[in-house]
């Protein structure tokens, strides 16, 4: 890997984001023959959020070894060491394909000149004009970089207090778990002495342990839902190990303190997630950490008019992670929020490979069929897959589609079924499923080659339901 001295005329594959997704995509694109590969990273170092996730638990699937976040990032970089992939640091992508347009511009009426956009001629290999990425960097200025294929790997961001509308005052000491993680793990500063954590997602749990080890007292971890959205192992080693209570079906209903947080009120919630009056308990605390969900960071995608799936909040993608805009791919947490970085890497490899193929003029072929969500399925990624025509050389007998999905609620002993119209193609059984844990299926291409109805449906079936279907 090398730093960028001068930009090339046109890249094969340009990757926006140098976190685990971008790094894995770059390696795969390089392996697949792309030789002009550029990663644009806004931070001064690659690795993304892994740099502040100093805990272990990463890498078991992808590197077959338990690693901490920084080690995982280091390994991803090692994999790029012997490649010619170029890395542009401290560079912020402002816009994709369209010139940057900031809402609010008109409020400075007439004072601002309008930028001019040039049109591009089609590229010889792909048959389409190259994509354009507008970016700003201290070294290069404000530049337009051309590339045959673009991979979106911008990751996600945390939901903040506004997203969940916690009432009360707005003092210092209320911060997202990720911001707290940055302060503690990268800046070396403690963010409070008596802490309440709202949300039992993994980041919240990990921070409960981390703050405790650094001498703070974590009074409680409060979860709105009747179940935790974090991994079980984190409940054990982050809360139980330190005697931190987990309050399920509870939420923060008031925040107090004018300058610095002085306390919060925690209330029980009913089955409609509404606070139960009379159940309030007050905690004297000087910090409230919010771990209330992650949102794919798709502002660039939206501005480029690439269709987004309201369920994943990421772009609609095909099995090669290509979006509805030909030659633009999305992978990692920008496509949908993952639980495990290992799966991010795996998915991003597919995107990198596909982007390299696209850049050589080998786009995806076949008939695209959407995957509908049946009962109990929150979303699937990909949202559509290409069915290879029977007898098509591409329909490799061993090839399979990777399907990620999430369920809408926790359930025990479920069957997952895939239907082609009314016909069930296959069933899988699972001892348990939960919304907090992303599920994975491999769909053999041979299974789908005769798919005729034009739409597939993934659905959850209880054993009882299955019998009912069988009788019908």
């Amino acid at each position: 890997m090398k730093a960028v001295k001068q930009l090339r005329d046109c890249y094969d594959v340009l990757i926006i984001g140098g976190g685990p997704a971008g790094l894995a995509a770059a390696r795969a694109a390089w392996n697949d023959g792309a030789r002009q590969v550029l990663i644009i990273e806004r931070d001064s170092v690659p690795g993304g959020i892994l740099n502040q996730c100093i805990h272990n638990g990463f890498g078991l699937h992808y590197f077959h070894e338990e690693l901490t976040g920084p080690e995982y990032a280091g390994r991803c970089l090692d994999e790029l060491a012997d490649t010619g992939v170029e890395l542009l640091l401290n560079t912020m992508v402002l816009s994709l394909d369209e010139l940057p347009q900031e809402p609010g511009r008109e409020a400075l009426g007439g004072l601002l000149p309008e930028p001019v956009q040039e049109s591009l001629s089609p590229d010889l290999l792909t048959g389409r004009p190259p994509h354009r990425v507008f970016a700003a960097s201290p070294e290069l200025g404000s530049v337009c970089i051309k590339s045959r294929a673009v991979i979106l790997a911008m990751g996600c961001r945390e939901r903040s207090r506004g997203a969940i509308q916690i009432p009360g005052t707005r003092p210092a000491g209320v911060l997202t778990a990720g911001a707290a993680q940055r302060y503690v793990n990268l800046e070396g500063w403690q963010i409070g002495r008596r802490v309440v954590i709202l949300g039992s997602g993994d980041i919240g749990l990990i921070m409960a342990r981390r703050l405790t080890l650094e001498g703070a007292r974590v009074l409680a971890c409060v979860e709105l839902m009747p179940y935790s959205s974090g991994l079980l192992r984190n409940l054990v080693q982050c809360l139980d190990d330190f005697g931190i209570p987990l309050l399920l079906s509870h939420t923060v209903t008031d925040i107090r303190g004018r300058r610095r947080l002085t306390g919060v009120t925690v209330s029980q919630v009913d089955e409609n997630r509404q606070p139960v009056s009379g159940s309030e308990q007050d905690f004297d605390c000087d910090a409230l950490l919010l771990s209330v969900g992650l949102l794919p960071e798709n502002e660039l995608t939206r501005a480029a008019h690439i269709p987004l799936d309201p369920r994943t909040r990421g772009a609609y993608v095909y099995e090669n992670m290509e979006t509805a805009s030909a030659g633009v791919f999305a992978c990692g947490n920008v496509a949908h929020v993952h639980d495990l970085v290992d799966y991010v890497s795996e998915e991003s490899q597919r995107a990198g490979q596909a982007a390299a193929a696209y850049a050589r003029g080998q786009g995806i072929s076949g008939r695209a069929i959407p995957i509908q969500h049946g009962s109990g399925i929150l979303y699937t990624v990909p949202q559509s897959i290409h069915i290879k025509a029977a007898g098509d050389g591409q329909a490799d007998r061993d090839a399979a589609y990777n399907l990620f999905f999430r369920v809408t609620r926790p359930q025990q002993q479920v069957r997952i079924a895939l239907y082609d119209g009314d016909r069930c193609l296959k069933r899988w059984t699972k001892p348990s499923v939960a919304p907090g844990e992303m599920e994975r299926l491999k769909l053999p291409q041979t299974l789908l080659k005769d798919c005729g109805s034009g739409s597939l449906t993934l659905t959850l079936e209880h054993p009882a339901v299955k019998e009912a279907t069988a009788n019908a």
Binding site: S44, N51, I54, H55, N56, G57, L60, E66, T68, G69, P70, E71, A73, G74, V184, N185, L186, E187, G188, R210, L213, E214, L231, L232, R233, N234, L235, V236, Q237, D241, D339, L340
Partner: protein, 130 residues
């Protein structure tokens, strides 16, 4: 998985395996001979974990260490192997006295004997001198 044992009187201990993100729900029962029977594990590591958790629980410690002459004031570290759970805070106390100086490499040893366990503390991120 060990053989099923019948005629037990001691209640089973329920655990969640923390070896990997799968989080198997384990159930452990004591055999008449004092050995432990583990159920619910999807792989052999679950059995090892359950027995250790009930006899000598241990954890990998991940934290940071102060560092001089680097772009950041702290550098991440981990214990090279698990240390006894009861020694976590003693180890943190020991680590709080430690100051490294950049440059450091991922994998280099920051401390050789963490809280008297004989286990080393390992740097997990390269940090250049600035």
């Amino acid at each position: 998985m060990l053989e099923e044992n019948s005629g037990q009187s001691a209640p089973a201990r329920e655990l969640v395996c923390i070896i990997c993100p799968r989080g198997c729900q384990l159930s452990v029962q004591e055999n008449p001979d004092g050995s432990l029977a583990v159920h619910g594990n999807a792989c052999p590591r679950g059995q090892t974990y359950a027995i250790k958790e009930l006899t000598a629980p241990s954890r990998t410690l991940t934290t940071t260490v102060r560092i001089k002459s680097a772009a950041l004031p702290v550098v991440p570290v981990k214990s090279q192997a698990e240390i006894p759970k009861a020694k976590l805070f003693e180890a943190m106390q020991q680590i709080s006295h430690l100051v490294l100086t950049a440059p450091v490499k991922r994998g280099s040893v920051a401390l050789t004997d963490l809280a008297g366990t004989g286990i080393s503390l390992i740097v997990t991120r390269d940090m250049e001198r600035v």
